[in-house]
Amino acid sequence: MYSHGSESLIKQAREIQESELQKFYGRLVRLLQAKEVGHETIDSLQRLHLILSATKFTRIKIVPLHKRILLLISSPLEQLQVLSSAVLRETLPLSGQEVNYSHLNSHAASLLVSQVCFNTYIVLLCLLLFRTLESRQSEGPAHSITHTLPILNTVITHSPECLTEEHVTLLSKKLVDWLRYASITQGGGTSSGGFFSGPRSRQPGPIAELDGTVSGDFFTVLCVGQGFTEDQWMNVYSFSMLRNWLLTYHSVSNCNTTADSDDRSEVDGSVISMVSATSSSSRLLPPKERLREKAFQYCQRLIEQSDRKAHKRTDTELQKACLVEAVCILDCVCLEDTSLVYRVFPCIKALYGRLCSDLSFARVLVPIAQFYLNHGEMAAVDCEPVWQLVFGRFPAELFNDPFLAHELLRFLRLNIENLQLRVPQYTLSFPNLLKFLAWDSSAMVDDFVDLLPSLVTAGTAVELLHTLLDLPCLSATLVLQLRSACLPITEPSGRILQALDAFRNPSVRGLFLFLLRGEAGDTIERLSTLHELLTESADWPRVIQCAQTVPVLLHIFFNTVIKVADEKLLAHLILVQLERSSLLLKIPKYIKEVHRVFSCHLLKLCKLHPSLVVDQSHELLEFAGTTANVYSKEEPLLLCIRKMVWVLGEYLSVSCDARCSVRLITSCFEALEAVLFEITSSAPPAGAVCPNPRVITTLMSALAKLASRSHDLIPRISLFFSKLRTVTRGGSAAWCSDEEDLVAIVTRGEELWSLLKAPGVAQSVLTPPPHVNTAQWHRDTNVAMPLQLRTITSLTHSQ
């Protein structure tokens, strides 16, 4: 597809020499001067465009050609119009005066819009467009006014203030005409003729619906005919921009501009709501309100028309798109005039009833859910079934539809506050919602970074943490679920034979079903069994991609949970981290990253709430005291251990928590002492490496800190330090292979030993009171003076 030839063509275009370029220009000028436009002219213009667009730097100014090419924009030949605007797009911009406004074709208009300083000349453009629209006769083919609406759409998207009140009124009236009163007979092509055809058979037939029946109501985008009249084309263009128009000029905020119109609309408002409730005399409505009314009727008709069975697949797709648009427009219209809700809701409710059991209409049901969220309360309608669909069936069965996932998650992001308020099952639905992430992690992680904080509640935090940690397992399970549905039960499944067998095996199926649950509120016992069954999924790309997104979500989880959790919950979370650090799906990189996250947040939690250390001292000791862990080669796990040891040493004191007894300090000391003795008394067991020297020094420091608080323990640790010195006097030890490391360990030991010789001092040196560590330069008399002097100096000595 993309070939070497294309690459070299681009290279040639970029590296063209100046002299060659000038020759080329000369040739092109001559070609353009000729009366006839031949193949060579077109070809040269195409090459010129390539040369100009091949580089992102505007290195070429085509002054000699500029004027000639400018003339081409108004050429009757479309190919010249297109090529000249493409070329001019790549060169320096036009000033507005260079453009011939009287013959503005679509391509020239787009050039104008994209290049010219928008605000200055756009007013001129608007005037021209409105002049075109107002004139009854259109010169040239039907499309000469059809391009005005898309251009206007661009204008109102970027500078809505460019349209005056008059323009808005005029266009509102025109839109009403095109939308509601377009011809209902076929236009364009005449009948096939033939010997027996006379003037009567030349009568244009009526328009038809998509299923072939003759249309019985006004023309819409879902009507077909042999050919179309101009106003039918305008019907299509009008509907295409209708929502944008309504959002720009009909939104609640810009309804009232002056105080006068405020009063007027209050009075009118009551009259209007009466009228719209009866919809009888809409001709009496002002243009804006009339447009709103006609928009409602148009959307209602589209909803009806979408129930018909279209003959062509593209038309079926169009019907779905029309339903989405219709619901969005109705939502917009109801937000503007809430009295319309009573007329609109029955329509939406009926549509919901029609579509709710058909998953192929899921993308239409998302805007319907938005409508229910916006207006359901006001209309006192039961929204329960809608939420069950949105939070239940959709994530569970359509997690692999990227477009639905994108739209559903966007719906959640936009309405997060409302949902948290009105939909209690939102925070319980995370097992389902996370299926989107587990399936397509790279695309969905961005949305979940925004959504996750809202799913963290005190009630569900622990289960959410477990679910996040098992996200790769969920990813694997979803793969198995889909594969299992596709493959017949008797056929071997190739690569994923074992895991798929396990998935289908009734005795362990419950484990998988737990992962696939829709709502929070369940727990699982045999997690390690599940991990074993899924071992082979550790190298599936989808699972690996999922595992890569988990650490960032864990960070967000922890940063959010500390805001909503009480100490009891935090203690529980510490326990979960300690427990799960050895209970993860066996993907080495994944395990490392999770340990890294744990080490960071365990420390953070303990620093925030030091009394947790006393609470959980038993579990922390169990974790840190497992010598098997200490002999691990994995950096992040060792980091975890060191931090836990540090935390024990630092916070197990009476000043942190009054419940800290001497007995507790002693038992902690003994546990850590045992570990230290074991790893420094002999060579590491077969197959293991020497223990990490920093782990050893951390253990020594922690023990010293504990001893400084309970002086009875000092002789024990001092004994250890003296033994250490003797054993290593020989220069080496069986448990430490690196000489430099050994020296560092021994030096540290010596420092701690000397400190402990003065027990009173030892405590304040090893665990300084908090105020020493916080900077208070402005209060510290020793430091403040120099600071003051320096400040004054810098102020008075201007540079």
């Binding site: 479309e78 050919g227 295409s240 239409v364 991609q545």
Partner: protein, 197 residues
């Protein structure tokens, strides 16, 4: 409205680094974003626009690579004539472009990846994405057919005006259109008439 439409590579290109994408065609609709805000000269403005398009291409390239890796599907070579099949087999998806990266507001970049090329349409997120998806797939099919992209030629580079005309009918000034098969046929006839000249 649609902010831009681009055709770019999603396969490794020898002259570029692994993550980069060669943009073969790009069309930005609407006025330049930076016009109102900064006092840049036109050359810098053009450069910025090109860089913005390049950022979108890179992000889509990365999304396509990850999506293909995750699905594990093998890419099947197609030949000219199999355009409809190529489109059926194509991967598609949508990338969320956060505000500022690279457009000032949040955008949704819908993409269709046919073998080594990606066709991307950047829209405002509140647009009718169902309609946008249909339009994008239609545009892709026409590009594949009229520019013989399944073959080894380089027509996409030299005949970019054909895509311009296609866009002027099916996506005029970035406006998505609700076209039933009759309206679409009528516009496609005009496009074909242009292509045969």
């Amino acid at each position: 409205m649609v902010r831009c439409f681009l055709v770019h590579t999603v396969c490794p290109v020898s002259a570029l680094s692994a993550a980069e994408s060669r943009v073969l065609y790009s069309r930005v609709f609407g006025p330049d974003e930076t016009v109102q805000h900064e006092d840049l000269d036109p050359e810098e403005r053009r450069l910025q626009q090109r860089e913005r398009v390049a950022v979108v291409a890179r992000q889509v390239r990365s999304a396509v690579t990850l999506s293909r890796e995750a699905s594990g599907r093998q890419l099947v070579e197609m030949v000219p004539g199999e355009e409809a099949l190529a489109l059926q087999e194509a991967d598609s998806g949508v990338v969320r472009l956060r505000a500022g990266d690279p457009f000032s507001g949040e955008m949704s970049a819908l993409w269709v990846a046919v073998q080594s090329l990606g066709f991307t349409m950047v829209c405002e997120p509140h647009e009718n994405l169902l309609l946008a998806e249909g339009t994008l797939k239609n545009l892709t099919r026409h590009c594949l057919e009229h520019l013989h992209m399944l073959g080894p030629g380089s027509e996409v580079l030299l005949k970019g005006d054909r895509i311009d005309v296609l866009l002027s009918r099916l996506l005029p000034h970035g406006q998505l259109l609700f076209l039933n098969h009759r309206f679409a046929q009528s516009l496609e006839k005009e496009v074909s008439a242009y292509m045969t000249k």
